[in-house]
């Protein structure tokens, strides 16, 4: 364990999260401005992107982990506006955007956690980030595959059903996961 002051150790993930968010927002805005047919979509992408960046920055500055999800959601909304405004050709960089969203979310959460009164074990964190990188990379590859499949077979009905089922399942999972509470203190044997 590396004992260090919470504010100092949280600085690097916080800066990285904000920097990655800024990169994502700039990329989305450049792409939207270059390709969008409707100015309203440009405004929506710009508004959502900048709001997401500000929310992420505010969340890591004030260590409010609950706000991180909203910030990432706004960045995702900005990307959705960009994709919708982009028109017909499929955006092959979409899985990379997903990867960036994961990184922003993880870095922001890490910064918030490290600001709190938690002990940090550097070796365990290193192992977690390695696992996370592998898993997210696998997800990115899977997303790329799904994207290629969707581009090859446009409007496939099974894909729609699987997507809807996944949606329902995830919502159910989220509701179920809200359970779980701290138990009462128990005497030490």
């Amino acid at each position: 364990m590396a004992p260090s002051r919470p504010a100092a150790r949280a600085l690097i993930p916080a800066l990285l999260a904000v920097a990655l968010s800024a990169v994502l927002v700039i990329a989305i805005l450049l792409r939207t401005v270059a390709a969008a047919s409707a100015p309203a979509l440009v405004d929506a992408a710009a508004g959502a992107g900048i709001a997401g960046l500000l929310v992420i920055a505010g969340a890591v500055a004030t260590a409010r982990a609950a706000a991180v999800g909203w910030g990432v959601a706004l960045l995702a909304a900005a990307y959705a506006a960009c994709v919708v405004g982009h028109g017909a050709p499929v955006d092959v960089l979409a899985p990379l955007v997903g990867l960036l969203l994961v990184l922003v979310a993880e870095l922001s959460h890490t910064a918030c956690e490290w600001r709190g009164p938690h002990a940090v074990d550097v070796s365990a964190e290193r192992r977690r980030w390695a696992r996370l990188a592998l898993t997210a990379a696998a997800g990115t590859v899977a997303g790329g595959g799904a994207l290629a499949l969707a581009a090859a077979v446009p409007g496939s009905v099974p894909g729609l059903i699987v997507g809807a089922a996944a949606l329902v399942g995830l919502v159910g999972l989220a509701v179920w996961l809200r359970g779980g509470a701290a138990g009462p203190a128990q005497p030490v044997p």
């Binding site: 364990m1 004992p3 982990a65 609950a66 991180v68 999800g69 990432v72 959601a73 995702a76 990307y79 959705a80 994709v83 919708v84 499929v90 979409a94 899985p95 997903g98 969203l101 994961v102 979310a105 993880e106 959460h109 009164p117 938690h118 002990a119 940090v120 070796s123 365990a124 192992r127 977690r128 696992r131 996370l132 898993t135 997210a136 990379a137 997800g139 990115t140 899977a142 997303g143 790329g144 799904a146 994207l147 969707a150 409007g155 997507g163 809807a164 996944a166 949606l167 995830l170 999972l173 989220a174 996961l177 809200r178 779980g180 509470a181 701290a182 138990g183 203190a185 128990q186 030490v188």
Partner: protein, 425 residues
């Protein structure tokens, strides 16, 4: 261990659902592909970890009895469940206790051993009985999606004793007891201190013959001596009321003073008892020795003010608690008439009574108006009258200001009693 979702687990499902919904609504597969890394992390985190069982924890302290302000090492022995690779261990201490120099919480990893012990240096700021603390355990799954927590308490206690003040002189009782001790008795007998000489009588030992006096007076004269005896002391604590907050109250000062006085008398081989005279009556009969000293200080630690409107006099005190010829030392903030009456009653019964006053004025706010200032003056005059009544009844009393040493106060009481004895003679 119970678990709660972290911010990730609360956010990721909704983000994925939102992206999939947007993909379906807009007919754009890119949004579903963008959700894939998030979904991979979520699924891997949920499927790749199990809820750990409650770890075995043992809490132990290096000492069960310490003097306030002294360091005690609290050891937490934890077994790390197989389901987690690291465990955060925090020790939550009761109010009044603090960690000296340890990091809290700390992380232990399974790689360093399945069972590990951590030591936390703890200091108790003031006297009292303290639980060891509560161990807070926290662990996360491999992707920090779920937080597992457990709180484990212990019923073991650490008793922090008041730091006794070194008293070189004590209040001299008017009478001594029968048993051997360190006080010079007024009567004559076998002892060290010279008392008088008298003509030799059959049975006197040869070594007690005073040869110089015998040579001068023509006949055998022998020395008489004062024997060394112990005394009985009863500490009468006024627990009807107190002034000030928990830390620094008159009750705290009273217990500290009683502990110092009791320790000093017990060191001199005297017998000491204690009576909590307040809303409830608690006592410990007079006794001596090391075991009694611990019993007495344990009893002092449980001293508390119990509020009561009921009028109580000395008739509620069992007679065996006040041995004949015992010195009774009252410790009081002089706020309750019932205690004052009790002191006067005991003195009126012919018992040897002294008192230490715990001033309360430092706990009062400064008067803000002329009327309040006048009321304060009247209150001071009333307290002066109370002291005068006690002096008149033969009760020596001195004021012990908070933060000041007790020794000059004891000396002041003793000086007054000496003057009073001389006046009586």
């Amino acid at each position: 261990m119970s678990w709660t979702p972290t911010g990730r687990l609360l956010a990721y499902p909704w983000l994925i659902a939102g992206l999939l919904l947007a993909a379906l609504a807009a007919g754009r597969p890119e949004l579903a592909a963008g959700a894939a890394p998030l979904a991979a992390v979520l699924l891997a985190g949920l499927l790749g970890s199990r809820r750990p069982g409650i770890p075995e924890v043992r809490l132990a302290a290096s000492e069960s009895r310490v003097v306030e302000g002294d360091r005690v090492d609290v050891t937490v022995e934890v077994s790390i469940p197989a389901e987690v690779e690291s465990l955060e261990v925090g020790l939550a201490l009761p109010p009044g206790a603090e960690l000296v120099d340890a990091d809290n919480p700390r992380v232990i990893t399974r790689a360093a051993g399945a069972r590990q012990s951590l030591s936390f240096a703890v200091r108790h700021r003031r006297w009292g009985a303290y639980p060891l603390g509560t161990v807070h355990l926290r662990a996360f799954d491999g992707f920090r999606l779920r937080r597992f927590e457990a709180r484990l308490g212990s019923e073991a206690m650490i008793r922090a004793y008041p730091r006794p003040e070194r008293l070189r002189a004590l209040i001299r009782p008017a009478h001594t007891h029968l048993y051997a001790g360190n006080r010079v008795a007024a009567r004559k007998g076998e002892g060290v201190e010279f008392a008088d000489i008298r003509p030799h009588a059959p049975g006197d030992q040869l070594r007690s013959v005073n040869w110089r006096a015998s040579a001068r007076r023509g006949g055998l004269w022998v020395n008489e001596r004062h024997p060394e005896r112990n005394v009985d002391v009863v500490l009468l604590l006024d627990t009807f009321t107190r002034a000030g907050p928990d830390e620094g109250s008159t009750l705290e000062q009273m217990v500290r003073g009683a502990s110092s006085l009791a320790s000093a008398w017990l060191r001199e081989r005297d017998r000491v008892g204690v009576i909590d005279f307040g809303g409830t009556l608690r006592w410990l009969e007079v006794g001596g020795g090391m075991r009694h000293a611990y019993r007495l200080i344990d009893a002092l630690l449980d001293t508390e003010v119990v509020f009561s409107y009921a009028w109580k006099g000395t008739e509620v005190i069992p007679i065996r608690l006040l041995p004949p010829h015992a010195l009774i030392v009252g410790l009081t903030p002089l706020l309750d008439q019932r205690f004052l009456t009790a002191l006067l009653d005991l003195s009126g019964r012919g018992l040897d009574v002294a008192a230490v006053e715990l001033p309360v004025e430092s706990h009062l706010a400064a008067p803000r108006s002329p009327a309040a200032a006048l009321a304060r003056r009247m209150w001071r005059l009333e307290r002066e009258t109370v002291r005068a009544r006690l002096f008149q009844a033969g009760v020596g009393i001195a004021s012990w200001a908070e933060g000041e040493p007790l020794e000059p106060v004891v000396a002041e009481v003793e000086a007054w009693r000496r003057r009073a004895r001389l006046r009586v003679r």
